[in-house]
């Protein structure tokens, strides 16, 4: 059995739907925002009222081209749309305007890490523009369902991989890299919780060595990358079991049930839609001129890989440290802003990847969710340099600054965090410590200098960490040696 198991290979392809964060919808002038009251961001065009016509949002087109370029795709300058026909109450025209045979971008790739510094290339088959549908709201107490058309007409980009992924972990890693790459473009929130990034997966298994694909199933309704991974793992096991039991996988679409951690049949192949695609006659095909595409290419921001290399090179960071910064664009930007104000980039990095990330993780927040100024952050580091804050007190200061939004100066004053370096008051404490620890004092006097550290610790405790430890050590040495 185990041997049989070894001989299977899993084949995974992913489809990601990404909502673009353009100011207006893809085919009308309605605001493209999430979370407003139902049916407030609608107009005759996105409601699909009779006689209305779509007009393409240029910004949506440019964002799509950006995505294509960032994913190393070929860009198809001939822009054509098609109608995908099907009935559903959230689809007010009875068809979705999409791109069928000529996607705006095709034949791209991104690399994922597969351990040992090895990379694997995942090919992007195509990426096309389309409009999002509305949202059905089911109220179990009502005898009907309601429709919110706010989302109708939100610009979407559908990004489809070739079946190049072999493990659920690869799918998970691909999604992370893809999301990071997209975040760098600033064209989408990329927020799975808000539905601005959604992922469907296709999975099949086949005997190792076989080149043709096994029968696939399509998985929907995964609400996180973790859910994608779990659904793929569940389905991979199910496929194996069915085949090893002598059965056959039937081609179907399945829904992931997060609560029960299992897949459920949504529709079988027999119920599959015939979408009757044809060219959208309301949008005349046109050609984006080469210069416009070149301009977009030139305007592309640095991608994560480039940033990583630059951080290692220019700021002399370890690849591990640089990797942490680069994995969150706002963190990377914060770091660079700090670097403009303070020369020791290694130290900045330690403070960001250490104390700052600790505070953020404790709050389950990202840097962009809090209001921390570069000035206050650098001020804390400088106070440590100037022996005004101890490391410990500096961490406290950072926490208070984040919590209250007050400046570093204010916080130090208000909380009395400044170190005590003045000899007079330190000597009072040191005298107490010497009196209370005669045994240790004897040891030191008889040559065990390392025991001074213990006395310093005692002094620090008495001053609640405010004493300048170096100064305390010097004074003790003066007294005892």
């Amino acid at each position: 059995m185990n041997q049989l198991k070894q001989e299977f290979e899993t084949v995974i392809g992913l489809e990601v739907h990404l909502q673009l964060n353009t100011a207006t919808k893809i085919f009308c002038g309605c605001a493209n925002v999430f979370g407003d009251d139902p049916n407030t961001n609608t107009c005759p065009v996105c409601l699909g009222l009779p006689g209305t016509l779509p007009v393409l949002n240029k910004q949506a087109l440019f964002s799509s081209i950006k995505i294509g370029l960032a994913l190393n795709c070929q860009i198809n300058p001939y822009i054509k749309f098609d109608r995908k026909n099907y009935y559903y109450p959230d689809l007010p025209k009875g068809y979705q305007i999409s791109q069928f045979d000529l996607p705006v971008a095709w034949d791209g790739h991104i690399d994922i890490s597969v351990g040992n510094g090895q990379k694997k290339t995942i090919r992007i088959k195509r990426a096309h523009m389309e409009e999002d549908a509305g949202k059905l709201i089911h109220d179990n107490n009502a005898d009907c369902s309601l429709v919110d058309y706010n989302r109708t007409g939100t610009p979407l980009m559908e990004i489809v991989t070739e079946p190049d992924l072999r493990f659920s972990q690869e799918a998970y890693d691909y999604l992370h890299i893809l999301k990071l790459t997209l975040q760098y473009l600033n064209i989408s929130d990329c927020d799975m919780e808000k539905g601005s990034l959604r992922c469907d997966a296709n999975i099949s298994i086949r005997p190792k060595g076989q080149t043709t694909l096994g029968t696939k199933t399509e998985l929907k309704n995964m609400n996180s990358f973790k859910a994608v991974k779990a659904a793929l793992e569940y389905e991979e096991k199910r496929h194996r079991k069915v085949i090893l039991d002598g059965g056959q996988i039937s081609q179907e679409t399945l829904l992931w049930d997060e609560n029960r951690q299992r897949t459920l049949t949504m529709r079988t192949k027999e119920d599959a839609h015939d979408y009757r695609y044809f060219s959208e006659p309301d949008l005349v095909p046109f050609v984006v001129d080469e210069k416009a595409i070149q301009d977009i290419k030139n305007s592309l921001p640095e991608n994560p890989d480039e940033k990583l290399e630059r951080f290692i090179r220019d700021y002399e960071l370890s690849s591990y440290d640089a990797g942490i910064l680069v994995a969150d664009l706002s963190l990377a930007n914060f770091f660079e802003d700090c670097a403009k104000m303070y020369p020791d980039t290694k130290k900045i990095c330690n403070w960001i990847n250490g104390a700052l990330l600790q505070e953020l993780n404790a709050r389950k927040l990202n840097l962009k969710d809090i209001d921390l100024s570069v000035n206050d952050f650098i001020a804390i580091i400088k106070k440590v340099d100037g022996n005004i804050l101890s490391n410990l007190a500096a961490k406290d200061a950072l926490r208070y600054v984040i919590d209250t939004g007050k400046s570093t100066e204010e916080i130090i004053k208000e909380k009395g965090l400044a170190q005590v370096s003045d000899e007079g008051s330190l000597l009072v404490v040191i005298d107490e410590v010497i009196k209370e620890n005669e045994t240790v004092v004897q040891e030191i006097k008889s040559g065990k200098e390392s025991a001074i550290g213990f006395l310093i610790g005692q002094a620090m405790r008495k001053t609640k960490g405010k004493a300048n430890p170096k100064k305390v050590g010097d004074l003790i040495k003066q007294k005892l040696l």
């Binding site: 005759p44 009222l49 009779p50 006689g51 009935y87 109450p89 068809y95 009757r276």
Partner: protein, 479 residues
């Protein structure tokens, strides 16, 4: 002539000369409608303001107009003569309506049409048929039958219609008036309830060629709401109305003078050619070799687009919603099926089914894709012809008006009424139908003039030159 019988440009002259007032014109039309519409049955909805509100004296063009029931008028029920759109009141004006309003033309009301413009006789309307003013037992043609009938019966000075395969020109011919379909992209389609998006075009139905040019001046031009509407300046079309065809080369396609054509229709068209020849036009025989495939191509492409355009009438947001008495499949599917079964008429269902079929997996290549290819060939036929000629002249319709009920159960015979008009839609070129006499049955015959894309000026010039040397356009029906 009575006030209601005059053309728009004659009325504008009279207003200018203080011989009449916009208010008098409204009153005159109101009385005419009250007198004859019970016979013609052309209006499906009179707007409360239309002929009653006192026009602003500042209005540039206070000439009342009738609107086909497939153009959205803000605050007025607009139904495409279909039960499925009963109660639909658009909260917006079609761009064409906006432009007409800006000129100050009072909107009299919505006029009858074939359901969703599917037909050539105005018999498929949910409101019942409209009569041809020249013979009340006959159809006015279609689908803009109401628009043609109100102009012929002088219940409106002029009207707006839409033309997908001849829906302006064929009824204009059958009712003895002028009807023109502009180049595809000349007039905005925003607010025109779509039949076949790549073929539909809005155009004027008028008593003479000058009115046609005047109305096109008002409605033509680019529109940011319609990306198929071409960004191209609009000339003053009345400037092309010169009574001079000397030196023009006009083509006569042999494929348009075929057997099955009513002999007296053919005779009138040949008379017209003779007249233009006398005035100095040069006629050449040309060939449009793919003409025989035009009707089939049109019914593939037109129905495919229609099947998709009509998908939105599903009972969810507006119009009719029906649920069967007993649950059949699921509440949702039942609603779709019951609403569409009850809301659409026979012809609409036929076209939706035809279109869905030709787009479906396994048939797409053989039907829809083939249709697109033939469409290109038809377009190329015209491109080649216009390398040689300035205009093409043909009959508008193979017959004069037929009897109500005569072809309604024979879809193929009905489809052939548009045999001469369909190609202009497939090729996207402008075409006009003008009156050129009467058949042996005393019913009007139409002459069609086609020119190359965006050469409405040439089309108007030839039409005007013919019209100025005949009296047909001055004939008025007495009802």
């Amino acid at each position: 002539m009575e006030l209601y019988e005059l053309t728009a440009h004659e009325l504008l002259d009279q207003i200018k000369n203080n011989a009449t007032t916009p208010r008098d014109i409204q009153q005159s039309l109101k009385e005419q409608i009250e007198r004859v519409d019970q016979k013609v049955h052309a209006y499906v909805r009179l707007f409360a303001d239309g002929l009653n509100a006192i026009p602003d004296p500042q209005n540039a063009c206070p000439i009342p107009i009738a609107i086909k029931d497939n153009m959205c008028v803000s605050g007025q029920e607009t139904t495409c003569a279909s039960t499925i759109l009963a109660g639909f009141v658009p909260p917006y004006d079609a761009t064409v309506i906006q432009r007409i309003k800006t000129q100050g033309c009072p909107l009299i009301g919505h006029v009858n049409m074939d359901e969703f413009a599917f037909g050539s006789s105005t018999e498929t309307s949910c409101y019942g048929p409209t009569s041809n003013p020249w013979n009340l037992e006959c159809v006015p043609g279609g689908s803009s039958g109401g628009s043609a009938a109100v102009v012929a019966s002088s219940e409106s000075v002029w009207a707006i219609g839409s033309d997908t395969g001849g829906s302006i020109r064929q009824p204009a011919a059958l009712c003895g008036i002028v009807g023109m379909k502009p180049t595809y992209g000349r007039v905005s389609r925003y607010g025109l309830i779509a039949f076949a998006s790549s073929l539909d075009q809005i155009g004027p139905l008028t008593k003479d060629v000058r009115d046609s040019a005047l109305l096109l001046n008002i409605i033509a031009g680019p529109d940011p709401m319609d990306s198929t509407c071409i960004d191209r300046p609009v000339p003053d079309y009345t400037q092309s109305l010169v009574n001079d065809v000397r030196g023009l080369k006009i083509g006569i396609p042999k494929e348009y003078f075929i057997e099955g054509m009513q002999p007296d229709v053919k005779a009138r068209v040949l008379d017209a050619i003779k007249l233009l020849k006398k005035q100095g036009a040069e006629f050449v025989d040309i060939t449009l070799p793919h003409t025989e495939y035009a009707v089939a191509t049109y019914y593939i492409i037109g129905t495919a687009e229609a099947s998709s355009n009509l998908a939105r009438y599903d009972g969810v947001q507006y119009g009719l919603r029906k649920q069967p008495d007993h649950l059949r499949k699921s509440t949702l599917v039942d609603m779709y099926e019951e609403t569409r079964s009850r809301g659409f008429g026979k012809e609409a269902k036929r076209r939706v089914m035809l279109g869905a079929y030709s787009l479906s997996a396994g048939y797409y290549d053989a039907y829809y894709l083939k249709g697109l290819k033939v469409r290109t060939l038809i377009k190329q036929d015209f491109d080649k012809a216009f390398d040689i000629v300035d205009a093409i002249i043909t009959p508008t319709s193979p017959t004069t008006a037929f009897k109500i009920g005569e072809k309604i159960d024979d879809p193929l015979a009905m489809y052939l009424s548009d045999i001469y008009t369909i190609s202009a839609n497939l090729a996207g070129i402008p075409a006009i139908s003008i009156p050129c006499g009467f058949g042996n049955d005393g019913l009007p015959v139409g002459l069609q003039i086609m020119t190359k894309p965006f050469d409405e000026e040439m089309m108007f010039r030839v039409a005007y030159a013919y019209e100025q040397n005949t009296e047909w356009h001055k004939q008025r029906v007495q009802l």
